[in-house]
Symmetry: C2
Subunit: 155 residues, 2 copies
């Protein structure tokens, strides 16, 4: 197991009813950031709670040049699943009291960014592929969010 | 950026038309394995190509004790999204020729386990929560697969 230093600021506020646990001493696997997501939202409070694949604004997934050929055929995929890394979220809460309802629930009964592995998953509608840029509707993340994966979505 | 040694054997075969790239020198973020998935399939060739949330066999997600309280409320979530780590997959292919059709496509136009970050996503139907064990239908992975996340699925 290996430590990786936290990158950038992490949001550390805790609300009534929330509970943190001690994190494991090291990581079990490593992730590559394979691109960045460009959105209109530069503060967390401005992000919509959930992306809208029909009516939401067009956002751009910028793929790093190393992975360019992995885009072959993506223009023929009307729906895509996007996995990205919520790098500003704390990872140690097991009980959470979401700001929008205040009920306390377990992390696995929520889709909050705060979770042991802060991987978000969104299903988006393809607008166009232009070189290394994939334009889509349906995202709700901060501008600059690191990309982990892009997959065809069949259903 | 930090290196993490590969854990266990990785499948390294390559088929006609496939293309590998050089992987980045280090990782950008780290993952915790938060449990294990128990399924009837002990060889990759035996796994179904796609899980069936209605008719598939009941599989069991075993949560590590540290995260027990994160299960609070999961019993009330009829559908769940499961993220897991396909630890046997190589990560460097940008073009792939899947065994079942032979067409060569980009990695992002496929859902193959072989991808820069081998994170799989399945939507499953909850059967029961029993202590640290979450019984579900709809998985298609190898027995012993490391768990990354469990989230309520709203749609």
């Amino acid at each position: 197991m290996v430590h990786i230093a936290a990158a950038g600021p992490v949001d550390e506020d805790i609300r009534p009813g929330e509970k943190a646990v001690e994190l494991p001493a090291g990581f079990d696997a490593g992730l590559y950031f394979i691109g960045r997501i460009r959105t209109p939202w530069t503060e967390r409070g401005a992000c919509p709670r959930r992306g809208d694949a029909q009516e939401g604004p067009v956002c751009t997934i910028e793929i790093a040049p190393r992975w360019a050929q992995a885009l072959t055929g993506v223009a023929d995929c009307p729906r895509l699943q996007v996995l990205y890394w919520m790098n500003r979220a704390r990872r140690d809460l097991v009980l959470q009291s979401p700001r929008h309802d205040g009920d306390t629930r377990g992390t696995f009964a929520l889709r909050s960014p705060v979770r042991p592995n802060p991987i978000a998953s969104s299903v988006v509608q393809l607008v166009a592929v232009e070189g290394l840029n994939v334009h889509v509707r349906g995202l709700d993340c901060l501008d600059g969010t690191p990309l982990l994966d892009l997959k065809v979505q069949h259903d």
